[in-house]
Symmetry: C2
Subunit: 460 residues, 2 copies
Amino acid sequence: MSPSPTTSQPLDLRRAVAIGTPKAIDLWLDVVDDPRHRSDQLAELTAAEHARLGELMPVAVAAEMADTLALHVAVDTFRAVPTRRAADVLAALESDRAAEILRALDPVEREPLLAAVPAEHAIVLRDLLTWPAASAAAHMAPDVLTVDRSVTAAGAIAQVRDHRAKLRQDAHIGAYVFAVDGDGRLEGVVSFRDLVLADADTPVAELVEPDVITIAPLTDQEEAARTVVAHRLLAMPVVDDDGRLLGILTSDDASDIAEVEATEDAERQGGSQPLEVPYLRASPLLLWRKRIVWLLVLFVAAAYTGTVMQAFEDELEAVVVLAFFIPLLIGTGGNTGTQITTTLIRAMSTDNVRMRDVGRVLRKEMATGTLVAAAMAAAGLVRAWTLGVGGPVMLTVAVALVAIVLWASLISSVIPLLLRKLRVDPAVVSGPMISTIVDGTGLIIYFTTAKVLLPELAGL
Amino acid sequence: MSPSPTTSQPLDLRRAVAIGTPKAIDLWLDVVDDPRHRSDQLAELTAAEHARLGELMPVAVAAEMADTLALHVAVDTFRAVPTRRAADVLAALESDRAAEILRALDPVEREPLLAAVPAEHAIVLRDLLTWPAASAAAHMAPDVLTVDRSVTAAGAIAQVRDHRAKLRQDAHIGAYVFAVDGDGRLEGVVSFRDLVLADADTPVAELVEPDVITIAPLTDQEEAARTVVAHRLLAMPVVDDDGRLLGILTSDDASDIAEVEATEDAERQGGSQPLEVPYLRASPLLLWRKRIVWLLVLFVAAAYTGTVMQAFEDELEAVVVLAFFIPLLIGTGGNTGTQITTTLIRAMSTDNVRMRDVGRVLRKEMATGTLVAAAMAAAGLVRAWTLGVGGPVMLTVAVALVAIVLWASLISSVIPLLLRKLRVDPAVVSGPMISTIVDGTGLIIYFTTAKVLLPELAGL
């Protein structure tokens, strides 16, 4: 992942629009072929430049470009260009991409566009929009190539040619041809490649693979995406309860879903609510809303550390050097716990750890925790010695570190597994949450250890 | 992402092997079609069961299954079965998958296998193994379909049929056909679909798209994977400096690379070194090694919190209630910083934030930090009031919270950007690291504020 050298682009979109000829736009499309750079440059145009660009670029070219743009840039572009033009481009897009863009628009922006799209296409789009946004069906391409299983390979190719208009540009959608019965029920799949490689008079029935991995339309998008990737499919049919083929989920849709989910998980792990818009487009007020909820929850949860400290006020006054080690001890507990939860949650979200592995996880983490505790106790002894706090406090710090590391290991392995058991996504457990839980309990462990080990606290 | 119901599987692999007929294995393959469940069950077989399974399963079926298994399960299976058999399956696999498995084996395990593979195939595999593991070329499939651009569509289909042995099972590899000149230099790409849909006597030259996105063999695997996804390609040609076609990187390879990279980033963010093996296979000793380095680094870094506290020992003895708020204040600073770095690092690793956005990021984060600081100061006042610490300490806590939140916002937005500037992967900045940095500086801010605001500390 290296920084993209946008500065070295010799021709940018603004200059191409200023030149104002279709040839300049063509040249720009040739020179800037990375969709990420195109998105960047498009995002910086003014409304007037957008309108000018709309006149210069043929509908088919605009649709091809809109297919690979970052979604939020595509959506903004649809907002910026006149409705008539936007509807033409929308009609030229793959239906799943068109629906994705419509879904991101407000209903008041969406309706005029849908009204301007040809009626039969608008029906398809409205149908796609009825599926829940997090379902597999919301991401499916309904324009699927189907053939009758009674024909020959040559006949199937002829049927496919009749539908070539459906194919547009997306190689994923054209990868498989589906065999269906008279009622549209899926009977199997045949690859384009097999159609080509077979003799012309081979019955399609011989080429059809009946054993197809399918998915129900309401399946969660993340589960559906993982299935596409696990089976290394180019596209997976979405099939209703009656076995009817509704559309396909392609592997590039699956990649998009996986990336969005990984971003949301990363944000949750960092103790925020997921942003839902690209970072640079989030206003400070939105960032604040997404962050302040957890900050306040954690603040309230951490407030009991004050109560714990107040409870041990006498001990603290008697041996004020105990306070020196508070940040170090609770920090180490939080770090230990954060390491475990992030590794464990990632392993769970990639299906490498399941509920039945609870025993193995606990044994592994407690064994690891014992090794970690030993190393940290040694480090704690060294640090306490350099601060010159005397033998009993040195011992207190070392013993407390062992207990805190083991305790942090235990709760940070149990909590994600427990949440999964309760059917809550364990990704809600953030590093900050684990740190907060360990902070207060760590203080109790520390002061209790001190009371036991320090002679001057014996009477308190 | 729901827990997989493995317990409801009616036939498991161990029972199928115990029955001991090829039909039982066939039935198992039919019943258990999810590669994740197959991997689980295969991983639990003993060496004797592996050998028995090897006798029961035809080579082609074994190769098809090995293609989708989890890598570590596939590698273990190759270790468990006799060399002769393993070499047969290896030869039947796609070369990129075979190389991936060989790369995971020790050289002493690898050599006998390579020696048992047919010579011309072994040359291809050895060539793949020479590329660095993190390069695009290490993941490429060298078995590419090529045609001469001077032929017609029908002629191209005939050429492709001659090479059908190259195609094996992978639909990604067969998605495009590449036009090359006499020296193997890439001239363009033609899709299978276009070959089928064109009239038989159309010259291939008319169907060829000369404007192909390619990548150099030594490109970093993560950058290469992101390019495949951004352009929505099924496969991207890997081309050397002379324009020669070396192989292709397919979109399922790109998905695998993206998943591995996301896991490594998640582990780094949690303050561990990446594990490199699946979690359940990591021994406590390995987990300890991956974790203890950062724990000790952070412990040493956090040790200065003790020095800071010692420097303010007189203040702490004079107003011991100041200690009550230490975990709360430094915890809030750490949480604020962790929220920012995780969001920012994810946005950078998905190309949503680049170096040129430094100014926007800083303005956005400082504006957000101001809003957060106001809310946290209010929360801090409430908490200090409930602990009954009196007006001056309440004010100290509120002012310190504002300063700590703003400070945490500043350093946690600057550090990732600075690392990117220095060409260090910003994903090395973990939540624990930010917390540690904020802990000590937060204490200095807190005690300095107290010295200014508390009359009883005026003389110290």
